[in-house]
């Protein structure tokens, strides 16, 4: 047994060496993502957050204003006015995709449970990659939150206060602080998990992490994984002001569809990784089992949507809640699309032949919801009744892609926007993301994909070093 400190340094060197070992395709990918991320960051710092950064640095931290002006950050130009968010629709595209990526991150630990708790040999090969996905997803989520917050520098200063100054805790009643803690905790735990896996696996087939360590890891990571998404739902779930969110089904709903989208994304990534890394081989039953779990989660998610729709439409007399529910499921466009199918029933239920349901300015909400319902049901049917699909690699990729699209339709804008349209005073202020918001969102996603790529390389190398020779027989 060699010196543990030397081994530790070797692991760190592994993480420095392998992210940058790849052919031209890898480099193209990384540079493309880096360019997109830099564009997003630039447009965020130079336009959206520019006055906030200037004010904080110059008036509160005593930075020389000339420095900032040279960097293109000025006091009176830019601001969040360039997003379409306003006093009525206060959270938009950023928070919508934040919710989605928190969900994807939560699913990472599912593989850890299968691998380290149930000691499944096949899942053990995939578990470190799942942790990498969790790290990348949390990175996207945190970047999106940072982009959404008006005063990013002040946020970091104030939330770090219990550490740097005397113990003046941030408001313990606020769910935001718990979400901040849990998200960062989960990020840290997953980074540690990746480190542990690489630290042992890279040394060859005879080395694997001690079992007690992996149990300890799972005991911390598993509740955190469910916790991040639960706490994210807890942010919006207890608000009496937003009737459509104010039901206890929100957190289970978040978790259910998260457990569908996260594994689906990992399956696609793993199949791609198998193409590029010859030594990396995951047994096929892992894919099949995961797809079944993913489909089961999808069924639960669809069932929750049904349950929620019943609550919203059957007896409810609460007018604002009904109006917001209408926003989720109906729009003039969906009405036109459904007319030929429903025929007389449409007249029976609404009393009019005119398509006046919902709000035309935000009809994308209803369209996305129907994408979720139709595509989700279709995927479930295909996965159950077409065994060929779930048993071939191409079929698995197809089903996984369908699941991801369906969950994007459920979890992004259709969860956030209806709470604000109609708003608390009963007026309708529409929201359509601006090009700036799309650019920043795409930038954050690109940064996440870059992190994914750079972290996946050393991890895959370590997995190959550990399992590669076993593959021969």
């Amino acid at each position: 047994m060699s010196n543990p400190i030397v081994e530790l340094l070797k692991t760190i060197w592994w993480f420095i060496k392998y992210p940058f070992k790849g052919d031209w395709r890898g480099w193209t990918w990384i540079f493309a993502m880096a360019a997109l991320a830099a564009y997003g960051l630039g447009i965020w710092a130079g336009v959206q957050a520019a006055p906030a950064i200037y004010t904080q640095l110059v008036y509160h931290m005593g930075v020389d204003p000339k420095l900032l002006e040279q960097a293109g950050i000025s006091e009176y130009q830019g601001g969040m006015i360039y997003t379409d968010m306003n006093d009525w629709v206060v959270w938009g595209l950023y928070i919508s995709f934040f919710v989605f990526w928190v969900g994807v991150a939560a699913a990472g630990v599912l593989f850890g449970i299968a691998a380290y708790v149930f000691r499944d040999k096949g899942f053990m090969r995939l578990a470190p990659l799942a942790e990498v996905q969790a790290v990348a997803a949390i990175a996207v989520a945190l970047l999106l939150v940072l982009a959404d917050i008006g005063r990013p520098i002040r946020t970091l200063l104030l939330l770090a206060m219990p550490i740097v100054t005397e113990f003046r805790f941030p408001n313990p009643q606020s769910m935001f602080d718990y979400d901040f803690t849990v998200l960062n905790g989960y990020l840290l735990v997953n980074i540690i998990g990746i480190f542990i896996a690489v630290h042992w696996y890279r040394r060859g087939p005879k080395f694997s992490p001690p079992k007690w360590l992996m149990y300890a890891f799972m005991v911390i990571a598993a509740p955190l994984a469910i916790g991040i998404h639960t706490v994210t739902a807890f942010i919006s779930q207890p608000l009496t002001a937003r009737l459509i969110w104010n039901n206890p089904l929100l957190a289970p709903r978040y978790v259910a569809t998260a457990l569908a989208a996260g594994p689906a994304l990992l399956l696609i990534v793993s199949i791609i990784a198998e193409k590029f890394y010859k030594g990396f081989k995951v047994p096929k039953y892992v894919y099949e089992k995961t797809l079944i779990v993913s489909t089961a989660a999808l069924i639960v998610g669809l069932y929750f949507t049904l349950s929620e729709a019943q609550e919203l439409f059957w007896y409810t007399t609460e007018p604002v809640k009904r109006a917001q529910a209408l926003n989720i499921f109906l729009s003039p466009l969906t009405c036109e699309a459904m007319k030929p199918i429903l025929k007389d029933f449409a007249f029976f239920f609404t009393g009019t032949e005119q398509c006046t349901w919902g709000y035309p300015q935000v009809s994308y909400v209803a369209m996305m919801s129907w994408v979720w319902i139709i595509l989700g049901s279709l995927t479930v049917l295909l996965a159950i009744f077409v065994p060929k699909l779930r048993k071939t690699y191409k079929g698995i990729v197809l089903l996984s892609a369908l699941i991801i699209i369906a969950v994007v339709g459920e979890k992004t804008l259709p969860i956030i926007i209806p709470a604000y349209v109609p708003n608390v005073l009963g007026t309708i202020v529409p929201y359509t993301p601006t090009p700036l918001e799309w650019a920043v969102t795409v930038g954050a996603h690109a940064a996440g994909l870059m992190v994914y790529m750079l972290l996946a390389r050393p991890v895959l190398k370590a997995i190959i070093a550990h399992y590669g020779s076993e593959e021969e027989h």
Partner: protein, 381 residues
């Protein structure tokens, strides 16, 4: 084998528990979760009167608040002089505008008056009297140095159907008022007894003062907009762009938690004119109201108009189901403005139904002014 895996599991649990114990010290957690009560509101004697600082406030002593007021005054003065110099450069040193702008900057004072002990402010509004003229909203903008370039108004006047006081499908952007079949409900911050907005703030940038006013400190706000999501009344507004301070229209009478110019990307809200009411004045909206629909006073004072109004007419609050216990009371007073059963029916010549406008021809276009004109007729009869 099962015993082996159980031992592993126990080891893992022990390790996880050790991490948990190390990261949280028990006595400090107890400090954080202490219950807020009246006894815990720290009191101070300032010039003979007893003042209190709310236990929810992140500023624990008067000295801290004074220091904050000084730094905010420095910032406000700097912005004011920048604007004044710009105005003087544009219009000439001897122009009246220049003189006014300079006067505002010289008089600029950021006060840090604390809440008096035993005071609980409340406001009442007579829905029968309100004619929906929105003068209160404009007065509020001027008094509280609201950024004129963003269209923020702290008071929103909601026009709802008289038969159904439901906040859905309401009209915020009406241009003619008052209509017979409409009720006008000005909505601003309700200064709730249990404000959801302060519960959700992650950095304690907003809190309830000891006299019930919910304030925001723009030097702590991080602009996450969680409070705007939590507010059932839409009372909070964000500065979505850099704030323009105009020395000409600036109100130099400022309070550190009130109308001092806010920073970019921070939340602002109605504070019941904290700079006026803490010094014994009344709010700008109460003062400007042309029909006297508003009343402002101390809920704990036997002689306050609020208690008399609640006793005589009864009052209702907006969205009681939200459980926030607002201290902004609405009531239907004894008479409508103008009275609907006046001797001369023309004296109550309000606008007809919104749908009838076309039939009345040019009549509807006169709006509220038409009503005033006919009041003169009523006097003759």
């Amino acid at each position: 084998m099962p015993s082996q895996s159980r031992r592993n599991l126990l080891k893992g649990l022990a390790a996880a528990g050790a991490v948990g114990v190390m990261s949280i010290s028990r006595d400090k957690v107890g400090e954080v979760f202490h219950k807020l009560s009246d006894e815990e509101l720290r009191s101070y004697l300032v010039e003979g009167e007893e003042y209190v600082i709310s236990a929810q406030s992140p500023y624990k002593t008067p000295e801290e608040i004074k220091k904050l007021a000084e730094s905010k005054e420095k910032y406000a003065k700097q912005k004011c002089w920048e604007s004044a110099n710009e105005i003087c450069g544009r219009l000439g040193e001897d122009s009246p505008e220049c003189a006014l702008a300079k006067k505002h900057c010289e008089k600029l004072k950021v006060k840090w008056t604390l809440a008096k002990k035993g005071v609980r402010w409340a406001m009442a509004l007579d829905v029968n009297k309100c004619i929906g003229c929105r003068r209160c909203a404009y007065a509020c903008v001027q008094e509280n140095n609201v950024d004129r370039t963003q269209g923020i108004e702290w008071i929103k006047v909601v026009s709802v159907h008289r038969e159904e006081l439901e906040l859905l499908g309401v009209d915020l952007e009406y241009v003619k008022a008052p209509y017979k079949d409409r009720v006008y409900i000005p909505v601003a911050c309700n200064q709730c007894e249990y404000p959801p907005c302060i519960m959700v703030c992650p950095v304690r940038a907003t809190w309830q003062e000891a006299d019930g006013i919910v304030v925001v400190d723009s030097y702590r706000c991080i602009g996450c907009r969680y409070c705007m999501t939590a507010c059932p009344y839409g009372a909070r507004h964000l500065n979505w762009k850099p704030v323009q301070v105009d020395a000409l229209t600036l109100n130099p009478n400022m309070h550190v938690f009130g109308n001092v110019p806010r920073e970019v990307h921070t939340v602002e809200k109605c504070t019941w004119c904290i700079q006026r009411t803490r010094d014994g004045g009344t709010t700008a909206c109460t003062e400007i109201c042309p029909v006297g629909a508003r009343a402002f006073g101390n809920l704990h004072d036997e002689n306050s108009p609020i208690l008399r109004i609640i006793k005589e007419y009864g009052a209702f609050v907006l969205k009681p189901g939200a459980g926030t216990k607002p201290r902004f009371f609405y009531y239907f007073g004894p008479a409508r403005t103008p009275p609907i059963d006046a001797v001369n029916p023309k004296s109550s010549n309000w606008l007809g139904m919104p749908g009838e406008e076309g039939g009345h021809g040019g009549h509807g276009g006169e709006g509220a002014m038409g009503g005033e004109h006919n009041m003169g007729h009523g006097g003759h009869a």
